[in-house]
Symmetry: C2
Subunit: 187 residues, 2 copies
């Protein structure tokens, strides 16, 4: 793993993460992890912006365009994608306050998208955060679909280890999910 402390940014990031990561939202911890991977030239993975349908925009004099009417749209893809070790990576991030994760929390179009990515040779998975026990797991889309087809309705933090790979929670990066990717996909 090539570590490149460009511009000395690593130290600043460490400070930010140490002060912020306790009690932080799962999504923010993933975003900070991606920032860590980017700065250290490990991977380039981003959260996609939420798609918004803009209906009306005003152009006040001497200031930037102001959107005055817009609506959230449903994304046709997943939350995160990018490149790691030359490979395409795509995943959906989910969080549950319980020790069980219900499969109904993932929509069909997200599953279809991940299945398609897998068929095209990309790495596709779901990353699940069990807040109650503070544990994160990644589970490959093929395995996930097998579970759904076998009429499983949910996984618990106790039995997910049979199907997925646990990701380390730490400070820098807050969630080292790429290490879990290395193990799960042997790359």
């Amino acid at each position: 793993m090539k570590i490149n402390y460009a511009n000395g940014k690593k130290n600043n990031l460490t400070t930010v993460i140490k002060t912020k990561s306790l009690g932080m939202l799962f999504e923010n911890r993933l975003n900070l992890s991606n920032e860590f991977y980017l700065i250290n030239s490990i991977a380039n993975i981003h959260k996609k912006p939420t798609p918004i349908q803009v209906v009306n925009v005003e152009y006040p004099k001497r200031s930037r365009a102001k959107i005055t009417e817009a609506y959230y749209r449903t994304a046709s893809t997943t939350d995160y994608n990018g490149v790691y070790k030359g490979k395409y990576i795509d995943f959906e991030a989910k969080e549950t306050i319980n020790t069980s994760f219900s499969f109904s929390n993932i929509s069909k179009h997200q599953l279809d998208h991940l299945k398609n990515i897998d068929q095209l040779g990309g790495i596709a998975f779901i990353i699940i955060y069990f807040r109650k026990v503070d544990e994160v797991y990644i589970i490959d889309i093929k395995k996930f679909l097998t579970l759904i087809e076998s009429d499983f309705k949910s996984v618990t933090s106790k039995n997910i280890i049979e199907y997925g790979q646990r990701a380390e929670i730490g400070y820098c990066p807050p969630i080292n999910y790429l290490k879990a990717v290395d193990i799960l996909y042997s790359i």
Copy 2:
């Protein structure tokens, strides 16, 4: 190349493209091309939503959330990314009404992003549409950066062929840029 006419969608798409592609915006033609690649299981490439900073949202009774104040933000990445033949693909699309494309049309953060993707083993390029001559070219980020470092300020539709690869313009897909990718990257 595996062709999968799932749900007979291909024919509908052909009709849509044939009626729409004349005089259509470059971006729309790229999006239709990506739809063609998706339906035919060739690639999964999407345009990222424009990032928007939401300042105020109202929740009218019995209707969906309405954004009443928001602003466009500058994207930190490029317009398009996805997976093709298992590889990560990332590109920025640019259009010029002239027969010359000025390098100042691409921002530094986009160049930095593409350079980073290339260093991480992904395929990174710029796709340029010369509207006057109705020609499309892809140019690899390494070559593009070499030109900029050599103090070139622009490329014309005549000399870009020395540095890039021409993409076919047709009906279905409207712009077959992945065929140009096959040639340029020998994949």
